[in-house]
Amino acid sequence: MQRMNLSAKLPAQAVAEKMGELQTPYTPQEASVEASRCLFCFDAPCIMACPTGIDIPSFIKKIETGNIVGSARTILSANILGASCARVCPTEVLCEGACVLVDRQRDPIKIGRLQRFATDYVYERGLDVLKSPVRKSGKRIAVIGAGPAGLGCAAELAQLGHSVVIFERKPWPGGLNTYGIAYYKMKPEISLREVATVERLGVEIRCGIEVGRDISATRLQQEFEALFIGIGLGEGQALRIPGEQLHGVSDALDFIEEIHSHPLHEVAVGNSVIVIGCGNTAIDAVTQAKRLGAAKAIVAYRRSETEMPAYHFEYELAQRDGATFYFNVAPIELIGDEAGQVCAVKFVRTETSKKGELKLIPGSEFTEPADMVLKAVGQSKQSAWLTQNFPALRLDQRGVIERNPATGQTSIPHLFAGGDCANGGREVVNAVGEGKKAARGIHAYLGQSNMPVARQPSRLGVNGEPSGSGLEAPIRAHELEKLYFSEAEQHG
């Protein structure tokens, strides 16, 4: 990375404090009091809002009764990355946003914090709550990418009795969970601890191996009966303006990755940091830059406050951390000094026309000093790698893999996909859920259709079938809407 003039700003102790966890864990009593508020809804909306369909009321009830191991098993059997999801899920827009107590003008149940309580309990005690069967199917499956999608898929396959090998390009497994989550939300150790559970289910993870470079896709397809692709997204997108090659200019995700692969007090940061873009990655970058000691940190966004993609609670967090927000400004040039180090950004003001088109306002240019510029304008798709390694694989116009959302199966029957490379870029929990669904898709594809579907006691209807919504695997709200209404119409 190019940042020769930048240095670490704070001593180790100070930086450790600033980057420490935002959310403190519950004490056992806090957890049981919070758990006792849960109504134990039947066919609960929180379950439906969880992309991995965790039986939330059941796990909460188990916390209330003091059956914490059972609670963790309920969570982890539905979502192998339950501990990291407990920390990084935007619960406000998922389970907690769906909690019926919101309708009662009450605080929703703190599902994320309770989930953390239960999963921490078993991790801290080194208890394994999941098992893979002793009798194996004899089938071998390769998973490409050890991120949330790949791990979700591998863990489910292992529990279904299959042999799984994961191929990971990076030196450490875990994908964005290990390299890309704001430090104060989750430390990389948490992610690695979870990866270790997946390995204990019998999954083999080979790190530092890039498919297409170190092993060919063709060979994988010969050696394994099915493949799962969970490679996420690619490099950060370029701004395509002059000056991008200057020292001190880098991609926000690279900056976050550096935080995760170095001792915190050695991570270099600018004095005046400008982050371009206003998604959740931009927020993660700006808050961490601030916490590492940047004197000034600005988020610059082309559009207006109401249009920013970042969640509102993330926006508030950054404001509390002292970040400044510039809306309706577009960068047109990155300006460098004689040494080739960035020293300012030139912006032009913008406005949005009634039709929603972005217009630059001529004559409104201004410059803002900066010794570090972080680009957070989205990640590129993996279409180049995909077409190179799997020429027959069908992608959509965006460069995202086309697949059956229920099974993860792609246009190549033995090839399955999930996570960001198949959904275009969503949450960690979506990736895990899609990995899990694909595992079941693979299981069925391999002719093992008698799949034991985990029973969810709080949704049990007549004859043990899920009742109410009738959805065996609940999914996110808008997907549910489509599915539910189309089914209702058919039956109607």
């Binding site: 049981s32 009091v33 006792s36 508020r37 109504l39 134990f40 809804c41 039947f42 066919d43 609960a44 909306p45 439906m48 809002a49 946003g97 769906a98 909690c99 019926v100 107590l101 919101v102 309708d103 009662r104 009742s467 109410g468 919504s469 709200a477 808008h478 549910l480 809407e481 539910y484 209404f485 209702a488």
Partner: protein, 428 residues
């Protein structure tokens, strides 16, 4: 403001709230604090031949987040000498002449009863309560509930007491008996001036699942304890009503058992109590709770334009009938207010699995609403033909005023069980 003062079998009290005989009424110091806080009366911790208590003696159960929803103890009567107790009663009474101060007694022989009654009256006690209730310890020595469970023995002892007593005598009854009215009648026959109920209920509150020793733990063992606190209120209310309704009893009643708020108090009064005694709630929160008891009861009476505690008393007694006189043709039906419903579906699963399969889940489209943030989330619908009107859904619904039970006009005449039997005999 309504008149809260009472005359309980001749014992005057500025309000109906008394501290029940127990740890909060153990010493003069506590009695002063209780009166300072505003309590109308104090029933002194039971006096008898001094005993020795075990160290660990209380236990409780928590329900949901609520601590001590039920409470139990294996404590005996006062562990202080009768001299000390009577001296402190005398001191307290001098300082608080307008409050009710009642001595609670438990002794064995006729001579002892006569002696203790005289000493109570000499100390200035306004009345005497006979403890026929403790379900632990004392009963093993033939006192407490060993007396209260045997109407013949009650009659004998109350008889001895009445030979000596000049002040009003209250018999405190144990609920550990099949029919409490038989005990109350015995007390009445022997001339008691009043009854108080209930004392504590035999219980084990919890078992430690690591050691398998129930609580309270006393050196590896425990004992059956007396259960009280909010959890016992329904049992106490039933017994109070049964005594109030019994034509043979007709004695003033001091209601006891789980009273923690003015609402509880009002219910006890409506079911026939004149004074009210509180123990667990004071042990939980201190004497200060009397402020809301008085204020809340007064405001309630004012809001109903009821001028005194006396005019509330007994209003609900005759509303309890034997089951066979209830109207079999009365019909209720559940109605959901969809403006309030939050879609938890607890009513559905309760009715489906626990009652009459009369609430189904439907897509909300038709009703044009979507409880929960999840679109398409199913909502409950009452199947009126199947609804028997049992109230279960209204009881489980977590939203106040969401499910109401509506009376429906059936157009049929009232029909009691007796009528029904007669009719079916006629038909066959």
């Amino acid at each position: 403001m309504a008149d809260l003062s009472i005359d309980f079998a001749g014992i005057r009290s500025p309000n109906p709230f008394w501290i029940a005989s127990g740890p909060p009424s153990n010493t003069a110091y506590q009695a002063h604090r209780a009166f300072e806080a505003g309590w109308g009366g104090v029933v002194w911790k039971t006096i008898g031949e001094p005993i020795v208590n075990v160290s660990s003696r209380y236990s409780g159960i928590d329900i949901g987040g609520t601590r001590m929803a039920g409470f139990n103890n294996i404590e005996l009567i006062s562990d202080r000498s009768p001299q000390t107790n009577f001296r402190e009663i005398a001191e307290t009474k001098k300082l608080w002449p307008d409050r009710a101060l009642i001595a609670s007694l438990m002794v064995e022989t006729r001579e002892d009863w006569h002696d203790f009654i005289k000493r109570s009256e000499d100390a200035g006690a306004d009345g005497i309560e006979l403890n026929f209730g403790c379900p632990h310890g004392m009963c093993e020595r033939g006192m407490g509930s060993a007396v209260g469970q045997n109407p013949g023995v009650i009659e004998t002892i109350v008889g001895w007491v009445m030979e000596a007593a000049r002040k009003p005598v209250i018999a405190k009854l144990t609920p550990n008996i099949t029919d409490i009215t038989t005990a109350a009648r015995a007390a009445k026959r022997a001339g008691a001036d009043a009854i108080s109920l209930i004392n504590t209920i035999n219980s084990i509150t919890q078992v430690n699942l690591d050691t398998w020793v129930p609580e309270p733990f006393v050196g590896g063992f425990s004992s059956h304890g007396g259960y009280c606190g909010p959890a016992v209120k329904p049992i106490a209310l039933q017994m109070v009503q049964a005594c109030a309704d019994d034509p043979e009893i007709q004695l003033p009643i001091s209601g006891i058992g789980g009273i923690a708020s003015w609402r509880d108090a009002a219910e006890f009064i409506a079911l026939g109590s004149t004074s009210l005694q509180v123990c667990t709630a004071v042990m939980h929160y201190g004497f200060r709770i009397v402020e809301d008891l008085i204020d809340g009861l007064g405001n309630y009476l004012d809001s109903k334009s009821i001028c005194s505690v006396d005019s509330l008393r007994g209003r609900a007694v005759s509303r309890i009938k034997e089951w066979k006189y209830l109207d079999l043709n009365y019909k209720r039906i559940a109605r959901i207010n969809y403006d309030r419903c939050i879609g938890c579906n607890l009513c559905h699963i309760a009715c489906e699995d626990g009652a009459h399969q009369a609430i189904r889940l439907i897509a909300p489209n038709g009703l044009g609403l979507g409880p929960g943030r999840v679109p398409g989330k199913p909502i409950p619908e009452i199947v009126e033909e199947s609804c028997v009107g049992c109230n279960l859904c209204a009881l489980v619904c977590p939203v106040q005023g969401c499910i109401s039970m509506l009376s429906v006009e059936t157009g049929r005449n009232t029909l009691s069980w007796d009528d029904y039997q007669e009719k079916s005999r006629g038909a066959s």
